[in-house]
């Protein structure tokens, strides 16, 4: 099945540690389901950005998962005096060719991933959701965007939907 033959979901997970994000990334890859791609990005305490990806969307003719956009939200814990911290949230749009994905994502992560935090993006056919989504167990915040249509458009749509949900859930919506 190709990416334009089925509705696409995009899951975004936000993490407070690279280790947790990487565990979920490995769990997604090992869950036995088809996926279009997965990207895990983290920024350590020295501001060094690390990226790992398994991106099949390029092979399928899409622009590359991580190059389409990137948002990572984090939790909004209520404070003692019944106030709320907003979310650490950034949003970067943009396009990149596959060959430039690594550097472009790192640049995006520089601007959007909180220091010490990490993010995971997974794109997959909706039919894989039943097994894939439960594999993501450590995300502090997890949203799934959905879209249908032509492959790149669907991917962008699902990602945009996920970003919107993440922003709403983080209180910045």
């Amino acid at each position: 099945m190709k990416i334009d033959d089925e509705a696409t979901d995009v899951l975004i997970g936000g993490y407070l540690s690279a280790e947790a994000a990487h565990e979920d990334y490995e769990a997604v890859l090992g869950c036995g389901e088809r996926l279009w791609g997965a990207v895990v990005v983290s920024k350590d305490l020295d501001r060094t950005v690390s990226l790992e990806q398994s991106d099949h969307t390029v092979e399928e003719g899409a622009a590359g998962l991580a190059g389409v956009g990137f948002v990572v939200g984090l939790f909004a814990p209520p404070l003692l005096a019944a106030t709320a911290i907003g979310a650490a949230l950034g949003a970067v749009g943009g396009k990149a060719l596959h060959k430039k994905i690594g550097s472009s994502v790192e640049k995006m992560a520089e601007e959007t991933i909180p220091i010490g935090g990490a993010g995971l993006i997974v794109a997959y056919p909706r039919s894989a959701a039943g097994k894939l989504e439960p594999a993501v167990t450590r995300a502090i915040q997890k949203v799934v965007g959905e879209a249908e249509g032509h492959h790149v458009k669907a991917l962008k749509g699902a990602l945009a939907d996920a970003e919107k949900k993440m922003a709403e859930e983080s209180g910045n919506g």
Binding site: L16, E19, D46, F75, P77, A81, T83
Partner: protein
């Protein structure tokens, strides 16, 4: 020499008994003029050891899982007391212990950080209640305190004093330790006598890093040697008050590794195991019942499997930390033995000052200050944040400030209910005590069951030393001691009960003991939840203290408070309620909940100062004394001299990477880093290099809104020209740190920004002439009051966690 009048201190020097003529012709000296008071013949040395935030069921000496061979050694040569009582909170126990009087009566209804506006809560020792060390010192003892103090109000811990609230002012000749309620064990900000000396230089020695518990023992031994080198006979009183086992739970990995896998069974099973050992050892009666788990604590079997290792590691580190404390107390005892004075040294060693602390909340924390700043993180979040800082292997290292789960504390208080802060129940009020004095105690290894309270220590020590409690000190008539001596029990296991009655009160949780009966009146609030919502039921006019549930126990038949007899004895309940109110009035306990008065509209006046200036040599400003930048717009302006070729280093830094800020220059760029408790880290960097010569730099924070933890915009300026900007979406609402200090021109101790970790303390290579903080109060008076009030709420919550 005529008989010494010890009832009026200081002891008057004897009148000159010689002869003075115009010349030496016929004059006769009186050599007693230069003598100093000496204690009565046979007065023993005294070593008073107090462990912090530990429970009855922690040390192996009392059946716990933590190996305490030195405690056991001293118990084997002395006596174990299994009905020793404390006050359920840090400072109050210390105040009672060191004065021989009830804690409220000496101003310590609450902790040192939280000096309130009622007599029982002022955190200020009345002058008619001279403490034990002062009495011993005036009677000829050498006195010294090492470790945790926690009896100096928060805003009085700098070079301006007043020093009558510091250890020297309480009568200790020498002090080495920290003034607050807790401290990093790796990079503490220390005081020595009347000076904040900051983090010891050995902190920077990577091969042999500084560790406070080791240094405490070293300093104590050094002091003992010094005293003996000068005077072979003068008795000493050494107060050895460990920072352990208070959070942060800091210990070298090898100590924690001794317990790897030892707590995989969880807290429920651990309680059962401890309980069985306690019975086997005979430290609890054979008919004792193990109290049930309150639903505030989760069952171990409810903990997700993926998180069990996280929780188990918390207890492994706590156990290693505690065993290390036993080790270091043992070193001090060894030193006394090596001096040949163990036989004539009275050792009193209390394992815990308020039961084990449940302030880690259910999850435990990688950084205990996250809880005190009201940031409720789930256990998964806590685990991830610990991973961010190195993972579970680093739990206990300097990179984290960890606290364990409340459920581990509950297990540490086996066989009792609850723990710290809960003055109504034995989990917070009963701790093990061991007394050792071979010259007097002949029933080595014996068990004593007399009902004892920390206020009884001072009269006991004075009786054993042959020193009366003074009638006046400095001409001020003294309040009699409230404690009663238990000296008779040292030689007679059947000595009659010296104490038949005692009140307990901590944050509204009340206990009234009389003739074996114990009335327990606990508020419904879960001890670690101090939110406005949780406190609503306790508002003035809403709360009726007598209306709450009352439990009644008869302790001679019920060691652990397992059998509530209130329904069967309503007349006894009423009698003890009435007695409590009488005692509360007598000892300044009222008004109840004064500790939490800020939650009910009674806030201290808003400070008027908005400008704070620090010259370049100011360092180690303790955490409770930094400018109040929280929840407001503010700026930091620094006048610098930058040499040709540039400069680098820290201009000003507060606390460390787990909460703090730093303004520094690196690679030629002015940089501001702000750590929101290690959860969020924000950074802004100038876009151009710092020029040379006389330079003024400024960081401005413009708050979004008058609310706690407000976000805002940051702008950097050099010579009034904007050079950088950025956002901080969240700021620290209450307090960056409980123990790390603020420094001008360097970042002492653990650094705020780990980008210059390898250059710490990263002293500025130019000159910092002056740093000025300008606080911008909110325009609307109500907004300012609201923010001030919220800060006071937070400070109260913080204080109660110390």
């Amino acid at each position: 020499m005529s008989e010494i009048d010890r009832g009026h201190l200081p002891i008057r020097r004897p009148a000159f008994s010689g002869v003075v003529n115009r010349t030496l012709q016929g004059s006769q000296p009186d050599w007693d003029l230069i003598a100093h008071p000496t204690p009565p013949e046979g007065a023993p040395n005294v070593l008073l050891v107090l462990i912090d935030d530990a429970g009855f069921g922690n040390p192996s000496t009392f059946g716990g899982p933590i190996q305490t061979p030195n405690y056991t050694r001293i118990a084997a040569g002395g006596l174990r007391y299994n009905r020793c009582h404390v006050t359920a909170l840090c400072s109050p126990t210390r105040a009672a212990l060191l004065t021989g009087r009830n804690n409220h009566a000496v101003g310590f209804g609450s902790v040192g950080e939280f000096a309130g506006g009622f007599p029982g809560y002022s955190a200020t020792l009345p002058r008619d209640c001279a403490p034990l060390p002062r009495t011993l010192k005036e009677n000829g003892y050498s006195t010294a305190a090492f470790g945790k103090w926690h009896l100096t109000p928060d805003g009085q811990q700098g070079p301006a004093g007043p020093f009558d609230r510091w250890p020297n002012g309480w009568g200790f000749d020498y002090f080495y330790g920290f003034l607050g309620g807790g401290a990093s064990q790796w990079d503490p900000c220390l005081a020595e006598n009347q000076k904040i000396i900051g983090t010891p230089s050995e902190f920077y020695d990577e091969e042999h890093p500084y560790y406070f518990p080791d240094a405490m023992a070293d300093r104590t031994i050094e002091w003992l040697h010094g005293v003996r080198a000068q005077d072979a006979h003068k008795p000493f009183f050494a107060y050895f008050s460990t920072g352990c086992s208070h959070a942060p739970h800091h210990v070298a990995k090898q100590w924690a590794e001794k317990y790897r896998g030892k707590f995989d069974q969880g807290w429920d099973k651990l309680r059962e195991e401890t309980f069985a050992r306690q019975k086997e050892l005979g430290v609890i009666p054979a008919d004792t019942e193990l109290t049930a788990r309150d639903e505030a604590f989760p069952a171990w079997e409810e903990v997700p499997d993926k998180l069990k290792a996280f929780y188990a590691r918390q207890m492994e580190v706590y156990a290693g930390f505690s065993e290390n404390a036993d080790h270091n107390v043992g070193r001090v005892i060894d030193a006394i033995e090596e001096l040949g004075e163990l036989d004539n040294t009275l050792i009193v060693w209390i394992w815990g000052d308020n039961g084990a602390s449940m302030e880690g909340t259910v999850t435990g924390s990688f950084n205990e200050l996250t809880m005190q700043n009201g940031i409720p993180l789930t256990d998964e979040m806590q685990l991830q944040l610990s991973e961010r800082y190195g993972g579970l292997d680093q739990w206990g290292a300097a990179i984290m400030d960890p606290h364990y789960s409340a459920a581990w504390a509950w297990a540490g208080n086996t066989p009792f209910q609850w723990g710290k802060q809960v003055g109504s129940h034995l989990g917070g009020t009963r701790n093990p005590m061991v007394v050792h004095w071979p010259a007097r105690i002949k029933d080595a290894g014996g068990l004593r069951t007399q009902f004892t309270h920390v206020i009884d220590l001072a009269p006991t020590i004075l009786e054993l030393a042959g020193i009366p409690a003074p009638d006046t000190v400095d001409g001020i008539t003294q309040e009699p001691l409230h404690g009663s001596s238990f000296a008779a029990s040292l030689t007679d296991g059947d000595a009659p009960e010296h104490r038949t009655q005692q009140y307990f009160e901590t944050i509204g949780n009340r206990g009234m003991y009389k003739d074996g009966w114990w009335l327990a009146m606990k508020t419904a609030r879960v001890p670690w939840v101090i939110t406005p919502d949780a406190l609503k039921p306790y508002a003035p006019g809403v709360w009726d203290p007598d209306a709450g549930p009352a439990e009644l126990y008869y302790l001679p038949d019920d060691f652990s408070q397992a059998k509530n007899l209130a329904a069967a004895h309503p007349e006894k309940v009423q009698e003890l309620k009435d007695l409590f109110w009488a005692e509360a009035e007598r000892y300044k306990v009222l008004p109840l909940l004064a500790t939490l008065s800020t939650f009910f509209g009674m806030v201290p006046p808003i400070p008027k100062e908005t400008k704070f200036e620090f010259r370049g040599d100011v360092q180690n400003v303790l955490s409770g004394m930094i400018p109040r930048i929280y929840n407001r717009s503010y700026s930091i302006t620094a006048d610098l001299v930058v040499p040709d070729g540039g400069a680098e280093g820290v201009i000003v830094a507060e606390a460390d990477h787990l909460g703090g800020f730093t303004l520094y220059v690196k690679d030629g760029k002015l940089t501001h880093t702000y750590s929101m408790m290690g959860v969020f880290i924000f950074q802004q960097v100038a876009e151009e290099n710092l020029p040379s010569g006389e330079v003024t730099v400024r960081m401005e924070f413009a708050a979004d809104a008058p609310k706690p933890a407000t976000g805002g915009d940051v702008t950097l300026y050099v010579n009034d020209r904007q050079v950088g900007k950025g956002r901080m979406d969240h700021t620290v609402p209450i307090r960056f740190s409980g123990y790390a200090g603020m420094d001008i021109g360097r970042d002492n101790g653990g650094v705020v920004d780990r980008a210059y970790e390898d250059k710490k303390p990263f002293a500025f290579t130019g000159t910092v002439k002056k740093v000025v903080f300008d606080i911008e109060p909110h325009a609307a008076a109500q907004d300012e009051l609201d923010v001030h009030t919220a800060e006071q709420h937070g400070q109260a919550a913080h204080a109660l966690s110390e």
